[in-house]
Symmetry: C2
Subunit: 196 residues, 2 copies
Amino acid sequence: MSDGDEVTTYSNLLSGVVKLTKILADGRQQIVGLQFAPDFIGRPFKRENQLDAEAATTVSVCSFPKSMMDRLIVSSPPLEHRLHQQALKELDEARSWMLTLGQKTAAEKVASFLYYVACHVDPERSHLRGPVEFELPLTRAEIGDFLGLTIETVSRQFTKLRKSGAIEIVHNRSIKLLSLDQIRRHAKLDHESWHF
Amino acid sequence: MSDGDEVTTYSNLLSGVVKLTKILADGRQQIVGLQFAPDFIGRPFKRENQLDAEAATTVSVCSFPKSMMDRLIVSSPPLEHRLHQQALKELDEARSWMLTLGQKTAAEKVASFLYYVACHVDPERSHLRGPVEFELPLTRAEIGDFLGLTIETVSRQFTKLRKSGAIEIVHNRSIKLLSLDQIRRHAKLDHESWHF
DNA sequence: CGCCCCTTTGACAATTGTCAAGACCTGTGG
DNA sequence: CCACAGGTCTTGACAATTGTCAAAGGGGCG
């Protein structure tokens, strides 16, 4: 999937990770959300609100023409209900992320990101107590764009988490969280506050 | 309206401004959205997602029991459509704000906030070229919680904008934007990027 | 093998936060 | 009417976090 084509289609994300980004005139960029399978991608009733969708990993999608979907939606309340649910879920996530962006320190942001990814790449597994290992869908630069940090600060926080014994950097993109509880503590997340 | 009662009711905001906030265990607080009349307040299909609604100004609302609304929604596709639309609008706003929180400087954040408020308090008037004057719905401390800044930084940025001739501080909460274009430039906002 | 990209690390600078003091405004009560 | 008490806001000096610039290591791929 190439970037930018979401303006005219809806897609059903079958596998992989897609990043939604917003960009300032001078090039500063913010990732405003990640989509994991089986999310819908596309903005009902509107050209995408100055927002780009771009594959973060290799992805497979199932796309429909936008006009067709918009017609389908109005004729099918259950479909609209499903999209409504996803919009609400994305709204909850966006607002949780606003708390992270606005209030947390660099260390807390990075821990929050790791926890967020851990909960999404493998929703079933993440409840376990033991260590969790997974592949990061983003580069350090992209993580920085997600967290409102520079690549260097992200890298330094990874190092700090590694030295503190909270994580193991198996291989650049491959991370092992030695204790989800410890990561949650670093991220300043209570048990009930996130369902990521 | 007292704070916290949104968990059990839906409300239609008739006048005034309501702030939606998220809070960390140690007290750090983030305002994740403002609601202006005639918005709906309440999270369909779920207890409010660890989110507090609190009046920022004197407000008047029309409230319904949550259970009643949830039943109404499933039986009325047009109602669900209306709520879906508002959720999408709030999602667009939240993501725009994420760009502000993650990427903009303190000066740009404050200018963005002023532009945001100007566009909401009086949607018709804000298109005009000339100066716009209005009452801020938030204190400096609340503006800080919205922008991820301290009260002192917010205050200093107000002073800088005043000295630069972009705004006039008529009286603490009463602000006059001498040129919307200039504010947009300070906020790094292009014409098309926001419809606030 | 060698190039390129991603990542890490260090030294230093800039922005923003912290702490403290004082100004200003408003409402209250003498 | 004035004094005072309690907010809110502004300003200054200084500290801390994070960004910038630069250099070097490491792995993948042609």
